[in-house]
């Protein structure tokens, strides 16, 4: 039998890191928006300029498990890319014979639920976001949806923010698209 006790309202601190102020939140929002625009416009080389040299880009594997905390195995990867891997992927795309993306998928990356928080490091912020990627490949008569959450860190440099790390948690256990020939 439960009673309706109103719990002590803990300060926001424990729930999540210290919230960014409006200017910093704006930095994060604009960065994610710019990224999504560049990738949707097939401007991967421009996007590449927004990556930090220490980039780590990871898509862990998720399974349906009884508890949420067991779902994602952070030592199991769909993708685990450093900047060198990303460079490799872009180079391959540029060969003109990376057939899966000829023509490039028409995409729309809808980024929302953006939350920027400060971290221990003065020049690094953490940014959480939710994304729906809508994809139509080649002459496909259908479309594919890719829903995911991202946990990013951005490094604030004198040239603007750079993507330092990205963890992508796919909502679904099986991809409903034939491949991940796209950056998420």
């Amino acid at each position: 039998m439960t009673t309706i006790d109103t719990p002590d309202l803990a300060p926001a601190g424990p729930v999540v890191g210290p919230l960014a102020d409006a200017a910093l939140q704006n930095t994060a929002t604009q960065f994610l928006a710019l990224e999504s625009k560049l990738l949707d416009e097939a401007r991967e080389e421009d996007w590449f300029q927004l990556l930090d040299t220490d980039l780590l880009y990871v898509i862990p594997i998720r399974q349906a498990t009884e508890r949420r905390e067991d779902e994602v195995n952070r030592k199991a990867y769909r993708v685990r890319d450093t900047l060198a891997h990303v460079r490799l992927r872009l180079d391959r795309l540029a060969t003109g014979v990376a057939y899966s993306e000829i023509p490039p998928s028409r995409t729309m990356r809808l980024v929302g639920s953006v939350l920027a928080t400060r971290t221990d490091q003065e020049d690094v912020i953490a940014v959480s976001s939710a994304v729906l990627l809508y994809r139509q490949r080649g002459i496909d008569p259908h479309f594919d949806l890719l829903p995911y959450r991202r946990n990013d860190t951005l490094r604030l440099t004198s040239d603007g923010p750079r993507l330092l790390s990205r963890e992508i948690l796919l909502t679904e256990v099986a991809l409903a698209t034939p491949n991940l020939g796209l950056f998420l």
């Binding site: 498990t65 030592k75 490799l88 014979v97 899966s100 256990v173 409903a176 034939p178 491949n179």
Partner: protein, 459 residues
Amino acid sequence: MTVVEPNVAHGVLNILARVENELARNRVPVEIWNSDAVFRAEMDQVFGTCWVFVAHESEIPKAGDFVQRRIGLDPVIVTRDGKGGINVLSNYCRHRGTQVCQTDAGNSRFFKCPYHGWTYSNNGDLVGTPHMHEAYGERMDPKEWSLKKAPRVDVRSGFIFASLAQEGPTLEEYLGGGGWMLDILVNLAPGGMRVAGPPERYQINADWKAGAENFSGDAYHVDTLHWSNEEVGMIQGTTANAEMMHAYDLGGGHGTLGFPWPMIGLPLWGYPPEIVEKFDLSTFDDAQRYVLETNLPTVGNIFPNFSYLRAFAPVTPGGPTTTVTTFRVWQPIAPGKMELWNWQFVFDFQTDEEAHDSYVTGQLLFGSAGTFEQDDTVAWEGAGRAAQSAWMQREQMSFSFDQAGRTTADTTFDADYHGPGTKRRTGFGEFNQLSFYKRWLAVMRGDTATVSGEGATTR
């Protein structure tokens, strides 16, 4: 094998007759790649009788461990019971069909049905019914009312297979040369291989047979479809691939391509000394050793839908190298549609760091975002689309495996090969693919008596 009545519908029998005719001239009719009737018959004839891979022992090491997998369209729970036994259980409650397991993996002694609480042991037995006395008088018979179980479950080198048929060849008989070759791939060291992580899954708009055919013997696509990898330095020399790959037709529909790793200065798939020194090749027979020294198994398929691939690659272009091993299931989910289940494997003895490099690089090449994989996943879509075309059906379109009759490569069998099945000294010829479809035809007709297959018998 007569355990399943050949209940293929009339329309399917007509299709199978055309398959037989076309195979005789190295063609395969388009209609088998996307047809409700053919797909439905496959669920019975192929996935209802064959030994199907469901999991690897390293995925359920402890008592109570389970993973949920599929045989054909059916979800099955693969469990390690308290006695260490492995069980492959249907996931429908016997009372009213509610699914008793809603997760992909876990550990549990029991599966309790949420609807009315019937409770099954992880060996499938019905061990509890709420209000037992009032509801049922006496205890329901635990075996009669167990979750339906795959009648036959067996393990080969850690790989768990199940057959839904009560009778038929044993797993060893069924695998035949396919098992013998699999051993070469994984039994290089005590403890064999283990999964590097859980499977990753992605849905492809292509028939499951497209993947099985390709891994059976398609040496010919590499320097076209995957050429971009050569350009960026992830692989080299693919223009010689079809020539250098030798095709093992292992009987029973199983096929493998063997690459001459030693010839390019990479004996034993390029594994480095610190790995090789852990290998113990003494368990292999002479024929296996011959394989290990000449054309090592590199890509292959075990009938119907279980494939493997071993490759050597830099962890990044120009960087240090590693050898990767991927296993995969071409899981049918609808006519013309499959879900690819892809695992990276490492040797049980490998250090975390070695395993990590192999895992990450395996995924870089052959994961859903893999620089090779991406292009396969979409190249295979065409056959299923063509199969749905009224025009192509009117034209009685068949796909071409004409290399078998036209290749100028030396297609005589390697006389020095004394293993099961046959080995040709070339990857040209599309022979293994034809053997895959011949086996498929036999299985679809319920004529699976000769387990060892045409390949094995011509040895």
